[in-house]
Symmetry: C2
Subunit: 242 residues, 2 copies
DNA sequence: CGAGCCGTTGAGGGGATTCAAGCTCAGTGG
DNA sequence: CCACTGAGCTTGAATCCCCTCAACGGCTCG
């Protein structure tokens, strides 16, 4: 919960200090804000934690809040008319989640935590207010929309094309962008891989096992992998040159 | 080319009148503009015609113009690292094309006319200028970004999933949104269908022929189809309930 | 009239799915 | 303590759907 100051102080609000020191501030939406802007927002922003598998919001709901992802990975998924789940995009550190509420639109997808996640919960009206003052923020928002669009199109072009082996290799490549401090990457469950790449979980399992045998990856635990980067590059080259 | 007036007149500029009367004005980006706004923009906007197969711009290029599609269908495509062409989205009447230039970003995809197309060519700086005056325009822009994002995600979920028959049926369903005045829809070439649905052109051809035999569609000419709507709905139902 | 593009159709092969069984591991309760 | 259970992962065998390769026909253009 946020804290509401009862008296005027000269030092900035503690949450404002926290925002100013935030590890993802430079990459986040509010990176464009100055001290005064931070002072304005701090009181309304809550910090949220989410366990893997927990949903942040559901498609179709008209929400009034959006989120900045400080830590972890969140996936966007939707259920097709045929009834199967399809993961259409991932969000990582610094990404904005649920920006459609700024347009008074319902959430477009389910948003579900893939890993333990930490987020800032931001009321939509807060961003509305800041936008009218701050053109840089508007531009920042548009940039995020464009990035999300390009992500989605790249996903379609690169992760939904070609043989299964190539698709899983490309997924591993993409996941390397979210490498953790200790060099491990998040390895999705087999049925999640299936939902991302349009494969059955058996096929996903076969390929991950195969990569293990080939020495391309190793699994320190069930949810993480270490990837042999150069070997992955080579394997991708082989797939693409044919 | 645009015409620059040499003397001040009381009647609105002819192009401003054309804009005000534009058939897609209500759905277009500048639907949010008033008379004064239209007067401001008219002189810089050119009208463009494009034949099927002609490209409007290429991915990676840093352009300075964006477009409103007045008539026809334009596709966005990109070449995967493996080297095959993949169509990732379609634009129809009233859609905005190339808005990434507003962010000083290179075009994200190739844009190619699918049908004869008419567009308005809009210099990016023009929109920049209007945005600072006109909050409604900013909101309209954001809405378009969000719509494009949702289109792309829906494409991924609905057109890249399931057996080939279902994918082509869903494509026909989607194309019905662009039905022409006489009730015909644009029917892509077989290899275009392949590039949209990740199929070979042979498979696309087989399915279109099959639909013809089933009476689901008829082809008045090679590039157009008439669809039996209820039959299509039934066929989709059958596909989805299994 | 031949060349080239586009569409159609067939035959055969291959890669992913389907169906099925067995495995590990964490949690539960006797 | 350990059987029991269920969820997730792995692996095998058979099937099927789509791709590949190939031939052919219609159409437009030079």
């Amino acid at each position: 919960m946020s804290i509401i100051p009862l008296y005027r102080v000269d030092t900035p609000h503690p949450q404002a200090q926290a925002c100013a020191a935030c590890s993802v501030r430079g990459q986040s939406l509010f990176g464009a804000l100055d001290r005064a802007g931070l002072d304005y927002i701090h009181a309304s922003i809550d910090s949220i934690r989410l366990q893997p598998g927990k949903t942040l919001f559901e498609a179709g709901v008209r929400g009034a809040v959006l989120y900045t992802l400080r830590e972890g990975i969140v996936r966007f998924e939707r259920v097709t008319e045929r009834g199967d789940r399809r993961i259409v995009r991932l969000a990582g550190r610094g990404d904005l989640i649920g920006q459609e509420v700024l347009l008074r639109r319902p959430y477009a997808d389910d948003a579900v935590a893939c890993t333990p996640a930490q987020l800032c919960r931001i009321p939509a009206h807060l961003v509305d207010g800041l936008c009218s003052q701050n053109p840089a923020l508007v531009r920042e928002l548009m940039l995020r929309w464009q990035r999300a669009l390009e992500d989605s199109e790249a996903w379609l072009a690169e992760l939904a094309t070609g043989p299964a082996r190539r698709r899983v290799l490309r997924l591993l490549h993409k996941l390397m962008a979210h490498t953790e401090a200790d060099g491990r990457i998040w390895l999705p469950q087999r049925d999640e891989i299936g939902a991302m790449l349009n494969l059955t979980f058996e096929t996903a399992s076969r390929l991950i096992s195969q990569f293990k045998r080939e020495g391309l990856i190793e699994l320190p635990d069930l949810r993480h992998a270490r990837i042999d980067g150069p070997a992955l590059q080579r394997a991708l080259r082989v797939e693409d040159e044919r």
